[in-house]
Each structure stands twice: as C-alpha cells, then as structure tokens.
Amino acid sequence: MKIILNIACLVLVFTVPVFSLMQPQGGEIAVIVNKGNPITSLSVSEIKLYYLRKLKKRWPGINKNIRPVDRKNKCSEQDSFYSQILGMSSTEVETYFMNKQLQNAERPQDKFSSDSEVINFVGQEPGAIGFINVRSLTAEVKEKIKVVNIL
C-alpha cells in the first residue's frame, strides 16, 4: 500500500508541472474597459454580446459607441479571448466584423500590437472594450483602466 502511495505521489509531482506547462503561454486574460464606463463587471456571455456589438451598439449609462479592441497579430491572449469568450476562430471573427462593416458601416475592431498599446487606447477611448494578459495589470495600469472580468 505504501509503495502504491509513493508511486502516486511521484506521478503527481511529475505530472502537475507538465500539465501547467501545457497551458497557454499567455495565461489568464483580463477584460478591460475605460475608467469612465459605469459598468463594474461583465459575465462571459455579456462580454461576447458587447464585444461583438450584438445586443447593444452603445454602452448603457454613457451612450457611447462600443469600440472593440483587438490585437494586430496572432498571440496567446487573442487565442484565449476568441476561444474562451467568443467561441469563434480568427477567420470567423474577421468575417463577422467585415460583414458588419459592409451591412451598416460599422467600425471594425481597433487593432494594436501590444498590451501597453491596448491599455493606452482603452484608457483614452470611453467606449473601448479590450483584453490583456493579467501579467500586464500593474498598479499603474489599474489607475488607467477598469477590469470587468478575469479569465
């Protein structure tokens, strides 16, 4: 019995780090909005509806256009956001916003190269909603933007 327990402990000791290495390199993502937005938190389904401008095109409370913010190039944060929240592939997301642009002249996502650029834009634009790696959430950053969910 003792041998079995020892083997089980060894298996756990070696497998836990392996599984943690298998997680996306970007780790958790934080969904952020402008400080002036009265919304304090959003569920996963609400984030999807606001980001895709499905249910509302303007933020309640501030009556400003919802401005979805995206990353310019493929990255782990984008992968996590698309798969965990939108449930769509990158092709589907691009096609979705292109369709909206053609249908109603809706503005497509504003795209940036890094978390710091996303943070600066969300900090300045009242209607923005974006996503960043939680590691980018320093005390200074939290002064600029509001976190509505961490996944």
């Binding site: 092709t91 096609t95 292109m98 002249a105």
Partner: protein, 339 residues
C-alpha cells in the same frame, strides 16, 4: 445620388491626404474586394462553352464621422466603367432608432441585407439566388433603392428589428408615387432570424424599369416575403430560406403573379471547408410582360474553402432549367479575395 457619392468619396480622400484632417484618417477604413470566375457549360443542344470572367473590383469606404454619424460608400470598378453600388449616410439616434439616407440595399428578406451583391468573398454561393440577383444577372427584384430609411434592432428580449424605407422603387420618373418597403424580423436565438417584408410600388405610365422597359400604363406592384436564416457566429450548420410573392395590377393587362423561393443549407465539415446546396425556383404568369422574365429552376451543389478571412474558393455544379436556355449544366469555380 451619384454626384453625392463621388463628393463623399472625394471628401474622404482629400481628408486622408491632408494631415489637417487626421480625425478623418483615424476614423476611415478602406477595403477592396475582387473575384474571378470560370464556368464550363453544356446546354440542351450539347454545346459546350468555357468562360473566364473577371469580376468587379469593389472599394468599400466607411467612416465614423462622429459618435453618431457614419458614412459608407461602395464604388464598383468594372471593365465597362465605374458605378456606385451604395452610398449611405446614417445618424444613429440610439440602438433602436437609426436614420439612413442614400442608395441602400432594399430591405426585402434577410439574404439581400446580409450578403453583398459584389463582395463575393462574403457570399455563401457563387451566384445569388435568382430572385435577388443583380439586374444584369437576370435578377427580378430592385435589390437597391434610393431613399430614406428608419431602422432599429435588438428591441426587447425577442430582439426585434425593423427597417422602413421610402424610396424611388423601380421608377426612374418623377411622376410615380414613392415606394414603401418594410422589413420586420426577430432573432430569438443568436444567429437565428425570422422575418417578413413587404413592398408597395405605384408606377405611372412611361416609367422606365431597371431593365429598360417603358410601362404603357399605370402599374401597381405589391411584394410579400417571408424569410428564415441561421447563419454565422461560428456555427457549423447554416441555413436560409425565403419565399416571395409579387403581384402586379394593370388596367388592361389585369393582374399577374410571380412566386419564387429558395433554400440554402451548408455544413462546415472541417475548420475552413463547407459543402452546401442551393435550390431556387421562379414562376411567372404569362401576362406579366414588363419584367422581361423567364421561369427558372436551379439546383446547385458546391463546396467553399476559406483560406483565412480574406480569400475564399468556391466550386459548384449547377443544374439549371430556364425558359431562355432550356437545360444548362454548369461547372463553376470562383476565387474571391479582400484586401
């Protein structure tokens, strides 16, 4: 309207060029779409033809002029010249109240306002269903109209949307009454829409229809449509079906009817690969003369492969049966891109 469109494009481009209008540059997006097709056909006389088609080059300009005002211009460049598919200026009062003016997609059905007549990159099939295809592709409906539109969406939990357009309709004369078009739809489940539309067009004698026919007497046109669509949002299954009934009434020719329907279904079997089928049918009464029409039945089996969001290849086998060419079996290949 064409002058308004040219002026809008000019203003955007001038604003772009001069850095004083940095705001315009920041808020303006430009996209281009193009396609090329190949068709191999065999008609009822067993004659085989092979054709390469250079599609149209479409430029899409959109600009968020202010928080509530946006502009869209859609110029088309083809071998025969330049035309404006759409020009739309929109003032969004709130989510459920928008006012748009210009040349717009006629709000009939769901397909006509969801997919684009020249942007083949985003259409599920090579050709539009016959009833809503372009007039130069033997289309029947006036799929674009110039006028003023009130619209709104996501009203209540049932996500009700509406579009109400007053426009010129088929007529190109000033003596005809304005045409009214409405479209009401609900989206009870994400990406699943059900809608009804209607259109009433009173045309005076002498009106020139888009097909170049002059009406010899006053004509009333009444259209009714019912639509259902499940499309987009990362779903594997996609489906669209629409039914149309058009009645025309003339003093001497009497009444005549056109009925049409189409059914489209596709299923994504791999990440970028979607086989699909399209069946569409058009039936006309023989006493409708001014449509320049033919009965039509078309069955299509195809497959669509997306190379990312900006490139798509479609391969189709089409089996067509129409008054003007009897039976026609056709193999079609289309490559459409956006940039």
């Amino acid at each position: 309207m064409k002058k308004l469109g040219v002026l809008s494009i000019y203003l955007i481009l001038v604003g772009w060029k001069y850095s004083a209008a940095q705001g315009v540059l920041d808020n303006t997006q430009v996209r281009f779409f193009a396609n090329t097709d190949y068709f191999l056909e065999k008609d009822s006389a067993n004659k085989t033809t092979s054709t390469f088609n250079l599609g149209k080059l479409e430029m899409l300009l959109t600009s968020q002029i202010s928080d509530k005002i946006s502009l869209l211009a859609e110029p088309i460049f083809s071998e025969t010249g330049f035309s404006l598919a759409r020009v739309m200026i929109t003032y969004a009062v709130k989510d459920n109240l928008k006012l748009s003016a210009g040349k717009l997609y006629t709000p009939i059905g769901l397909w006509n306002t969801t997919f684009y007549h020249n942007v083949k990159l985003l259409t599920p099939t090579i050709n539009q269903p016959a009833i809503i295809s372009e007039p130069d592709e033997s289309g029947v409906l006036d799929n674009k109209d110039t006028g003023l539109q009130l619209s709104g969406e996501n009203i209540s939990k049932a996500r009700i949307g509406y579009k109400f357009l007053v426009g010129n309709g088929y007529s190109t004369t000033k003596t005809s009454d304005i045409t009214t078009t409405y479209n009401v739809f609900v989206e009870p489940i994400d990406n699943f829409k059900i809608g009804v539309s209607g259109r009433l067009d009173n045309l005076s004698a002498g009106s020139l229809t888009p097909r170049g026919d002059f009406l010899t007497e006053n004509t009333m046109l009444n259209l009714m449509n019912a639509s259902i669509m499940y499309y987009g949002g990362g779903n594997k299954f996609e489906f669209a079906s629409e039914f149309y009934k058009i009645s025309t009434k003339q003093t001497t020719a009497g009444t005549g009817n056109i009925s049409a329907y189409f059914i489209y279904a596709g299923y994504k079997i791999a990440k970028n690969l979607t086989p699909y089928v399209l069946y569409n049918k058009l039936n006309y009464d023989s006493n409708i003369s001014w449509f320049n029409i033919n009965n039509y039945t078309g069955s299509t089996i195809g497959v669509r492969y997306n190379f990312g969001a900006l490139s798509v290849l479609k391969l189709e086998a089409q089996f067509l049966d129409a008054d003007q060419f009897k039976k026609l079996n056709r193999f079609g290949l289309q490559w459409a891109i956006g940039f």
